[in-house]
């Protein structure tokens, strides 16, 4: 991997007695887009403020481009990066004046500033709004202005703090895709904070999961989403079914795990007697009526159970099934739902492939 652009070492932020953020070691590498995900209150915004040199941790070191951040060089280093926040706060002036603000703060003359800002206004589709008052913009337009304000600075590091979460879904999607293009083309090193898994997987090369002020897992995006390291992370990255059990039998590359309510075949090298946690994403579980032999299905694991709860879930239905005390959550399409004629308290068979199970070893 490329050199570390920004590193955090032994960072502690606490308000009063409550620790908000504890980072023993962390690095952002040049050229990567790092998505930091975590629930509300996990310390994501605090992390971004520390990275953006906007908040001084009570302990620890921050380095940027190999230089340790000190009181004396903080402004110089801070001017090599740019932060964009959830709520785009613009000054009471025109869109254009807001867009060139960062450049003016760096003492650039108006002509140079104009040349730097123009292409960005075009690129984010707000050139026609340039003379409008910033107070008259919609939320999406304002956030685009705020992004231009940051991108025009050519930052070495771009920090985005939930930039889409205040926008309505269509506006959010449009901006998300535009930003994805910009980041892919410019290769600006970016740290992007969100609590939306979908945004993280669209933009992020790497994903870091921050829960309770600590990093729980950092790695390539696919790895974090499919192979969470523990139950907490699993739940946050979209695993809704977790079954704890014991390995009964193991052969090369395959194991049988017994858990409360049944057993299941999983892929991997295990030893009998090992305690494990089985993780299943709801879209990997299919449901069928009891008795009907699902010959078409390649699923090796079949569990009989009862429907506990059915919830409409956008274009899908979310179904909770109880299999002898173990709870499984499945996401099924509307047509399947209609075919099955599912209702609460009805018996049903839940099946999933051995390869769909992510296994976490428990200590």
């Amino acid at each position: 991997m490329a050199e570390a652009l920004l590193t955090l070492q032994d960072i502690l932020v606490q308000y009063g007695e409550v620790p908000i953020l504890e980072v023993p070691s962390m690095a952002v590498h040049a050229g990567e887009v790092l998505a930091v995900i975590g629930p509300n209150g996990a310390g994501k915004s605090t992390l971004l403020r520390v990275m953006g040199l906007l908040e001084q941790p009570i302990r620890g070191r921050v380095t940027f481009q190999g230089q340790e951040v000190t009181r004396d060089n903080a402004l110089t280093l801070r001017r090599r990066l740019a932060s964009v926040f959830q709520e785009p706060l613009l000054l009471n002036a025109s869109v254009y004046e807001n867009a060139i603000l960062g450049l003016k703060l760096r003492g650039l003359d108006r002509e140079t500033a104009r040349q730097r800002v123009r292409p960005w206004l075009e690129r984010l589709g707000i050139a026609h709004l340039a003379e409008r008052s910033a107070r008259s913009l919609s939320g999406g337009e304002a956030q685009r202005t705020s992004l231009v304000r940051a991108l025009a600075l050519n930052p070495d590091l771009l920090l985005l703090d939930e930039p889409f979460s205040a926008l309505d879904p269509p506006t959010r999607e449009g901006l998300l895709l535009d930003l994805e293009t910009v980041l892919r083309e410019t290769k600006i090193t970016t740290v992007f904070v969100t609590h939306e898994r979908s945004e993280a997987s669209i933009l992020g090369d790497s994903v870091a999961v921050l829960i309770g002020g600590r990093f729980r897992q950092v790695g390539p995006s696919v790895e974090v989403f499919t192979q969470p390291v523990n139950e907490e992370v699993a739940q946050f990255v979209g695993v809704e079914t977790t079954l704890s059990g014991v390995v009964e039998m193991a052969t090369a590359g395959l194991a049988c795990v017994r858990f409360n309510g049944g057993d299941a075949l999983v892929v991997g090298d295990f030893r009998p007697g090992e305690r494990v946690l089985l993780c299943l994403r709801p879209e990997d579980i299919t449901l069928s009526p009891p008795g009907a032999e699902a010959l078409r299905s390649s699923a090796r694991n079949r569990l009989a159970g009862t429907v506990v709860k059915v919830t409409p879930w956008g274009t899908h239905f979310r179904v909770v099934v109880d299999c002898d005390g173990s709870r499984l959550v499945a996401l099924i399409t509307r047509p399947s739902f209609t075919d099955l004629g599912l209702a609460e308290a009805q018996p049903v068979v839940a099946s999933f492939k051995a390869t769909a199970v992510h296994v976490i070893r428990l200590r």
Binding site: R78, F85, L89, L105, S133, S146
Partner: protein
């Protein structure tokens, strides 16, 4: 009625004949109160910003003091400044009592809490997150303060008006620390009091009219600036 007419007539005569005494008194009024307001702004705006944007031990006490100070009776200020500046007082060696400088000091004490309090209120209307956003695109501390002042400039103008209006029209403290000396420390308010007690109601009314006109003129200009701002930047409907 006759008295009022005579007063208004005298006022016109004094103003349009460019009476030297009246002109000097008016000029001193403007200068003393202008200087006091300016100093109060220089001291009060930073304090107001600090109170609005930072948390420190004892802040609640300072805020309470500022709020109390906003209603400080001028005569009480006059009394304490006099005691300090009298030749027998602790600051007597400065030799400032009964000078325009002493009047400026007293008026600064009156205007400073007004400016600080209203500045604090003005900055509290700003989104607290704006600070981070401006720092986040590379503002230095001084740039940040300047941008925030610009952003809060309408309520800040109110602070200026209130500060100036408070001191140009106050009589208690300038009388005590200035002594109302003819040609040296006599300002519009103290001259009005004196002329009234001397029975020169015409001149007193004239001075009052000039004072009113001044206060109105200053406020009119500032209000015009405010209105212009609002026309230039319409609020979203």
């Amino acid at each position: 009625m006759e008295l009022i007419l005579e007063g208004v007539f005298t006022a016109f005569r004094l103003v349009f004949s460019g009476d030297a005494d009246v002109w000097a008194i008016t000029r001193l009024s403007l200068t003393v109160s202008g200087a006091a307001t300016l100093i109060a702004l220089i001291l009060g705006i930073p304090l107001g910003i600090a109170l609005a944007m930072t948390r420190f031990p004892g802040r609640a006490i300072v805020v309470a003091l500022v709020n109390t100070g906003m209603g400080l009776p001028p005569v009480v200020v006059g009394l304490f400044i006099s005691i300090l500046l009298w030749r027998s007082g602790p600051l007597g060696f400065l030799n400032l009592i009964y000078t325009p400088a002493a009047m400026v000091i007293a008026q600064v004490v009156i205007a400073f809490p007004i400016v600080a309090g209203l500045t604090m209120a003005a900055f509290q209307t700003l989104n607290p997150k704006l600070r981070l956003q401006l720092l986040g695109i590379g503002a230095s501390r001084p740039q940040l303060l300047w941008l925030l002042c610009k952003e809060a400039q309408l309520p800040l103008l109110a602070a200026v008006m209130a500060g100036f209006g408070g001191v140009i029209s106050e009589v208690g403290s300038v009388l005590m620390v200035g002594g109302n000396i003819k040609g040296q420390t006599r300002v519009l308010t103290t001259a009005t009091v004196l002329e009234t007690s001397m029975g020169n109601f015409g001149i007193a009314i004239a001075l009052g009219v000039i004072l009113l006109t001044l206060a109105f003129g200053v406020n009119f200009i500032l209000t015009r600036i405010q209105q212009r701002e609002q026309i230039r930047w319409p609020r979203p409907s």
